[in-house]
């Protein structure tokens, strides 16, 4: 097959992004409901709050993964021929998982949170039946199998085309002194690294899911709670981070259309991605720092790697973006704005995350609202911004070089930025004031913060709705022309 025939599966990806956009809005509405309930704007039965918390957590993590995966599929499709059938199988399994998860939550009243921390699914204190927990877990398994297929469908052709995994990661440039010009393009290096770590993450997740399932069916089957906790946070951390590392490929591929400067696989770039590959997996113990029975060196590793993780992000991804933009005279439109915002929000959100990764800080910040504070920054202002940037680019009019920003675009962007910044800032402040996370009912002293947070959240929901509408209209126009 000649190079010219290799084309991304634009239709499937556009459809997935529409789906993702709609789910983002829907899940944000659930988030708004939770925040309003904490602020006592509305009354919500705690059991329902925790079901919504579960739906929001699982739904958001899932759709972040889905939108990231669609972005990576699109751009890897510029370099290797991918199998459309595999993509539809992935999407089908994903949607089957969604149906199972929603049934478990809203029919079975499962409210064990997206982390299904062992042994909570089986010990619900009467709030849900084992079948509901089992259905939830099977939903995850379906999505997990879908992702394994997805990475197989990406990994195999990439490895074949680029002559092995090591070469796809660019190691011949770093270790064997090959010319960086002979290295694979940035998209391929990123795809290879994500494929490795998220396959491992998913496999570990599958193992603990199966163990949880067996425990549900055969309660005598003992699983070590500490081991299960390690496995769950390894999976959870790797999976949600993979979504951002897949979405950033949109930055590598789209920003050059505006700057006229191709994103290069330089040595720092290749080394950064090898470091990311390692760090993403080694960093998960930052979730276990209040489990003092863990070996001390593992907790130290969690703290140190949390910090090191910030080096490739700031010194390579963000730094290079700055260099590429400098003096490029790029014309700003909604797509470029959101993509650059995505890198900025991701970088800034890493700061409170790194600080919470310190053992001394974690002792007083762990599981306070500081935590949703930092991860909503690099999700809302990171992964989600990049996804909507990609969507805006998909339906842009004309060439990137002649783009521009309408007043409506500016208002949408500004509202989103202010809403998301305010919403996350309130979480950080509440965390510093020792408000615990995941509490359906708040103490009287916390209500004011919750109310301010709710108002900012409403701005986010509104502007996101506008972004989705604009995309849908753009798609419709594209169909007609």
């Amino acid at each position: 097959m000649s190079e010219a025939e290799i084309k991304p599966h634009a239709g499937a990806v556009k459809f997935t992004m529409l789906l993702s956009g709609l789910v983002f809005v829907l899940m944000m509405a659930l988030g708004l409901i939770m925040r309003a309930a904490q602020g006592e704007f509305i009354e919500l039965d705690p059991a329902l709050f925790y079901q919504i918390l579960t739906a929001h957590g699982a739904g958001m993590v899932g759709v972040a993964g889905l939108s990231g995966a669609a972005i990576m599929w699109y751009f890897v499709g510029r370099y290797v021929q991918l199998s459309a059938a595999m993509y539809w199988a992935f999407l089908g399994l994903f949607l089957l998982g969604v149906v199972l998860i929603l049934s478990a939550i809203f029919l079975g009243e499962f409210g064990g949170a997206w982390t299904f921390l062992f042994p909570l699914p089986a010990i619900a204190g009467g709030a849900w039946e084992p079948w509901a927990a089992a259905t939830f877990i099977l939903g995850y398994v379906s999505i997990g199998v879908g992702f394994l297929l997805y990475y197989l469908a990406i990994g195999y052709p990439v490895i074949k085309r680029y002559g092995g995994l090591a070469r796809a990661l660019g190691w011949h440039v770093v270790f064997a002194g090959a010319d960086p010009a002979d290295g694979p393009p940035p998209t391929i290096i990123a795809a290879a690294a994500v494929t490795v770590f998220n396959t491992l993450g998913t496999v570990v997740g599958a193992a603990v899911l199966v163990a949880s399932l067996v425990h549900l069916l055969v309660p005598g089957f003992a699983v070590d709670a500490l081991l299960a906790k390690n496995a769950i946070y390894f999976f959870g951390h790797v999976f949600i981070n993979a979504s951002i590392y897949m979405a950033v490929i949109a930055v590598y591929e789209i920003v050059p259309e505006y700057t006229g400067r191709p994103w290069k696989s330089s040595r720092p770039f290749i080394i950064a991605w090898s470091a990311i590959l390692l760090f993403v997996m080694a960093v998960y113990p930052h979730h276990l720092q209040q489990d003092v029975v863990m070996p001390g060196w593992i907790l130290v590793m969690g703290q140190v790697v949390s910090y090191l993780n910030g080096v490739p992000l700031l010194a390579v991804t963000a730094f290079s973006l700055g260099v590429y933009l400098h003096g490029s005279k790029a014309r700003w439109d909604l797509g470029l704005s959101l993509l650059v915002l995505g890198v900025g929000g991701w970088s800034i959100g890493a700061i409170p995350a790194i600080i919470d990764g310190m053992l001394v800080v974690n002792k007083v910040m762990h599981n306070t609202q500081w935590v949703p504070g930092h991860f909503h920054i690099y999700l809302l202002l990171g992964e989600v911004a990049m996804s909507f940037g990609f969507m805006a680019w998909l339906v842009r009019k004309g060439q990137a070089s002649e783009a521009g920003m309408s007043t409506l675009d500016k208002a949408t962007f500004g509202t989103y930025l202010v809403g998301a910044a305010g919403f996350t800032m309130v979480f950080l402040i509440s965390g510093a004031l020792s408000v615990p996370r995941r509490w359906a009912v708040h103490l009287p002293g916390w209500i004011l913060q919750d109310r301010i947070g709710t108002l900012f959240a409403a701005l986010v929901v509104l502007s996101t709705l506008a972004l989705v509408l604009k995309y849908a209209v753009g798609l419709g126009r594209g169909q007609r022309s």
Partner: protein, 167 residues
């Protein structure tokens, strides 16, 4: 502690946001950038050096140390859906106290806040393990226990209290 953490975090976030603002503005710059590779290396070395310093400074004293050995007063606390059981309701000020955390069922989090609601320390309670945490209360008064790990629909109801008395 929390105020300091918040202040440092906000300062760093604002600084980085400002850098991004400058980057966006510089899209239209005419001046060429200097040697970006050496600037990148400088940034990496500075980050590594700062990281090393902070790591050493923050871990020199092990944050989870049970420093006092047998001299400490032992308290057993057990979490269950959805209550705490603490085997002492009055504790002396100024003496090291070791809390031994157990659970009857799922994971819970044992967090202690002072009368102003400020979290002082926490640790997890986990099936099959006993987590130990040591603390010295400086001021007598009422302290509250909050659950800091999601444990089901009664999670937010897991509040308890104890008193610290001068001795």
């Amino acid at each position: 502690m929390q105020t300091l953490v918040l202040a440092v975090t906000l300062a760093l976030m604002i600084l980085l946001a400002f850098v991004f603002y400058r980057v966006v503005r510089a899209t239209n710059a005419d001046r060429q950038l200097g040697d970006t590779n050496s600037r990148r290396s400088q940034l990496i070395w500075v980050m590594l050096a700062v990281g090393l310093l902070v790591t050493v400074a923050s871990l020199r004293e092990w944050p989870h140390a049970l420093a006092s050995g047998d001299a400490a007063i032992q308290v057993n606390a057990t979490g269950g859906q959805w209550y705490w059981e603490i085997d002492r309701s009055e504790l002396p000020a100024g003496k090291p106290i070791v809390f031994n955390l157990h659970t009857e069922d799922v994971n819970h989090g044992f967090g202690v806040v002072d009368s102003e609601g400020r979290l002082l320390f926490q640790t997890q309670a986990m099936p099959g393990y006993v987590n130990q945490v040591e603390y010295v209360f400086d001021t007598p008064g009422d302290y509250r226990v909050l659950c800091m790990e999601f444990c089901g629909v009664g999670h937010h109801d897991m509040l308890d209290e104890f008193t610290v008395v001068a001795n």
